[in-house]
Symmetry: C5
């Protein structure tokens, strides 16, 4: 997640520094040849690159729109994960009860809430291509970890453990039949959110589309110096570089936004969101248990200019 007012100028242009260098070199070369080699004194009317620029802006506009939509959808999904995690914990604490609160029930509820935290971390790590099991020992029992590590899809396996505990709670009389169905619905929503993340992660943006725009952009940049050389002279190098940088930046942006789970600064901040869920659910758990648990300290987010 980008944090406002903190992105160093260096970072932004770091992304395209090689491209900018190439363009600058190219436009100097064109200028040099134009003034020395009399044979290739080509100057094309400005209309050609200008119109090409309009066309490219249009397509780039449509494309950034679609990339933005993917990125915003990913953020939507993780927003829903926050809401459903909170609702699940609320339901666990307010649905599951018996006449005399037993230790067994308290253990079940705590296990449930910790497992939900584990799911959030596990899903985030899985989407980023890391091991979905790392760090789960803080939240899951050894037996549960063994069970879920047998599955290819670890987060889905964690949700199955949820469902088993709900069944056991029904059998123990902690919840009634309506509450079971209602809890199952919350789990179905979490399952949906997981599936949606996986869909975005596994479906590449149509690459022919991207390639077309990239080729058009190259053609446009190649023609640019010939359009400006007669009007601006050597200043042409500056104008060409500035305009090219603008277009390349927005193309880069679209490429980043379209894949929101790739360890890039514009990513959905899954780690930060998972830590927030952890904090909220732990506070709720401590409050319900009526005493302050020795809270596992949540590592502070590093003072970087973006959140993972």
């Amino acid at each position: 997640m980008l944090l406002k007012d903190k992105i160093p100028f260096k970072y932004i242009f770091g992304e395209i520094k090689y491209e900018v260098a190439y363009v600058m070199a190219y436009s100097v070369l064109v200028w040099a040849l134009y003034h020395n080699v009399h044979v290739i004194r080509i100057s094309i009317p400005l209309t050609v690159p200008a119109i090409l620029g309009t066309v490219i802006s249009l397509l780039l506009g449509f494309r950034s729109n679609q990339a933005y939509d993917r990125w915003w959808e990913a953020r939507h999904i993780w927003g829903a994960i926050v809401n459903d995690s909170r609702s699940l914990a609320r339901q666990v604490f307010c649905f599951m009860q018996e006449e005399f609160e037993s230790e067994q029930l308290e253990q079940l509820r705590n296990r449930f809430v910790k497992r939900q935290i584990a799911w959030t971390h596990s899903l985030g790590q899985n989407l980023r291509g890391h091991s979905p099991l790392t760090g789960l020992e803080r939240f899951l029992s050894r037996k549960d970890i063994e069970t879920v590590s047998r599955y290819t899809n670890v987060p889905a396996a964690i949700l199955n453990l949820h469902a088993h505990d709900i069944r056991d709670a029904l059998n123990s009389g902690y919840i009634n039949r309506f509450q079971q169905v209602e809890l199952d619905r919350t789990i179905s929503r979490l399952c949906d959110s997981q599936g949606k993340c996986e869909r975005i992660k596994n479906t590449v943006f149509p690459s022919t589309y991207s390639l077309y725009i990239h080729f058009s952009l190259l053609l446009f940049i190649c023609l640019l110096p010939f359009g400006f050389i007669e009007i601006f002279g050597i200043l042409e190098v500056l104008v060409v570089t500035a305009i090219s940088a603008c277009f390349m930046l927005i193309e880069k942006m679209a490429i980043h936004l379209q894949d929101p789970f790739e360890n890039k600064p514009t990513d959905t901040p899954v780690t930060a969101i998972a830590k927030n869920i952890e904090r909220d659910l732990k506070q709720m758990m401590e409050d319900e248990n009526g005493r302050a648990e020795p809270a596992v300290p949540v590592p502070a987010s590093t003072p970087a200019f973006y959140l993972m």
Copy 2:
């Protein structure tokens, strides 16, 4: 929220008065240099800035679209909060009952409805960066305030209190098991709305995108006087300023719309909406209680040209 027909002209241009001054100074300077310093008598064909203008309009159009969508989504969410608050109060009064209406039940219902008002105010203040606890003592008991102030996320804690009261109502026999689940769903919807607001608040608009458009706009304004100077002479200053002001205004608008919870006049009017909910829920409460409570006077909205 902007109120129609009330925005003074001064306010609109106040937003960009420094920028307009700079542009005017710059174009006067260009005119002066053009007519005095014979060396830099550059006049570029109008096509260059004109086409650049089309490109920028296009990108600005796409961007305002996205900013508008964020703003409109925020408004949607607060609309849903109004609806769900009304539905919650209706359900509380029509679901919760016993054969002989007891004082205890009446207290529970009133406590519930007042807490819902507290939640609305608290969420609005939290989103605007103010303390979420300010003024809650009008609606919450001292004990409840103590409980919620232990949480990092105060509005979420208030919803948890709701859930506890629903559980108690089930145990006391005021509601049946279906009604508990139905009330819990309404609370889940409120929890969703809260999460959506926090998502919009915490996710910045991709800043590289904004920066790109801003740089392009600067480039465009810099080139503008050179395009008009030959045709219009000194009148060029007027034309350049007018066109620049248009573009800068719409960019400003997009910047305002994209962050709808930042104490700006184009914000979602969370305070006004919370007050409306307070008014409606109190009327309902008084009517149900069968007598006119000494209503806490709702402060009139200030006669400003926008609502907070």
Copy 3:
């Protein structure tokens, strides 16, 4: 609601007749000055107004899109009101029953359905700024009217009366607990629809955005005659007026569409829809009661070229 094939040409241009007159006068003036006063013989290249025209079309296109979305959303909501009113009536007649159909039950059902008709009319009138109580005496008892007139928000109060009757029906054993919850959901959907209408009604379109486009349009029209005068001579007046009229018409259209509850011909036809609901629900009521009630005649829609 606009009715196809019935809008007189006069109506369309009536909307912008003063503006057209001003533009015509202005372009005649420009022509006169151009040919008589030799000092101000300015002719600007056609590119300037032409490109400005592209920019404005683009922004106008985006804006009409957003205005159209508001208008279409309003139509969506009233479509949902039709559906939910029909569903509510169907549920009332098919859920509420007892072994031997009593007169009391029939009265309850009829009261319920009539109150639903009352709600529709009341909401429509409220949105258009008329008194929400006018004409309700045809559908509500004197006591109910007294109750709802104590509320600031009359339609919301009518829905509360619905909820009370549902509670009484549960207590009388006419419906079971599932049916109560299901009826409550239908009422929640109606409550949502009401809230959505109020959101559209109370949220103005960002006015700075509109103003920007309006100023740009003025600038464009002012420049237009200077672009055409050399090519077309006096015919310039015709061309300028035609083009300006086109742009002004589409701007007017966007302004109308963006506020769909303002007593304008492009409004959502809330009165007509409410009358249709009244007709359908009354037919259903008569059929269920097994006899033809002396139907209150629904006033025919006036043969105007638009429906309110």
Copy 4:
């Protein structure tokens, strides 16, 4: 529904043959006058019609987008009708049961499924402006037809009959109370789909918007020959006709798409969809009844190049 690869070239241009003839005649006339009458030898720069063309493309693009959305929404709704009809039949066969399958129950289930087929046909015919009662005698009993023909809105009346049968099934003990509510929800969804179709049918596309684009297009076509006459000579007739035909075709397309229930080839294929539902539901009915009913032969869809 348009069937791919089957639309004869003649059909496409048949739609605009008169318009094309007028344009051709007009451009020949302009050529003739240009070369014979020396007085009106006007040739305007190509920029004027060209830019006008861009503006019109833009608006036409936005408009086709909105027309396409209406058409696609209509297709969505009928897709939902297919799904909900299948679900309703599945629920009727799997929910409604008793210990010993009686003939009475079998009759009820068959009556229900046939009535659902009737509803689909009736809704389709109603939307296309045909009598909603035609052909219903194949699916409804004489008594049911009499009942529904008393209603203004026949499909809504059929859904009411559904609801009555569900109530009777509950009273006879064929279904339990949850299943009643679940069946009622399916019927509410069908009721929603019907209401959405009626909304699209009854809400015209804002006609001022269409008119504006139409006038602009006429203006553009009138100017076109003057722009090309100097460059192309008599070939101008061909170029002008080709370009005009393109624009007129896409305008026609938008007009067709925006009203998807008007007996036009681009319509939603309500008849074909209703027949598919009929086929699927009958197969299910025969299978459940355990014997092959003498199936009413479904008339083959005519080998036309589009489906109704």
Copy 5:
């Protein structure tokens, strides 16, 4: 599904190699005629093809947008199929139980889950135009295959078998009445997803729209050489071919994206998704059964550069 970084350059241009060859031949011909046949030395101003290019980009942009939406919707639906299949399996294992786990129950659960795998494969094959019955013998009993093969719509028939088993489970007391309704809802969602796929498959993109853009593109390419010949000479062939290729590529892309179930590389990867569901559901089944079943080996996805 396109796999990133693996699409050979040859593949991309293979799609349009004939078109590129034609364009190249055509522009060489124009060059040859221009320089040899003095009669047809037509050179048109660059503005004509350039503006036409803008118009076409705009329409192509809108169209790719709509094609992309269809493709993305198809991907959405199959994402929902993954989620609902997982949820169905989870519900089957956690809802269906009895006091002493009997072999009969285990068989029922396994049959259910295998049938769900069968449904996924069957739907995928049906959408791609293959026989929906191929390979189902791995998952369905001989009797079930016989039953479903009597239906025109095989996947819908499989869902009916699901519904029958749910009814039997209710009668056997494995599930309660709420769970039956909840399972039925999951099946309704699967039924919805199937219907949505069929809608996309059976509704062609409005062909007149496609044709219009195709004709405009042809006209544009025909005019292109005449615009460039004077400026670039023989180099014109390269420029014309490059620009044409760009436009043709993006048109091709839109054509591919708009029909996402046609055995093309850009298709929704229904086979791969069905195999993933198979893998996940089998792992869950083995785990629940408490022993490792001799798993039917899932054929590895071929190392091609796209997934089916």
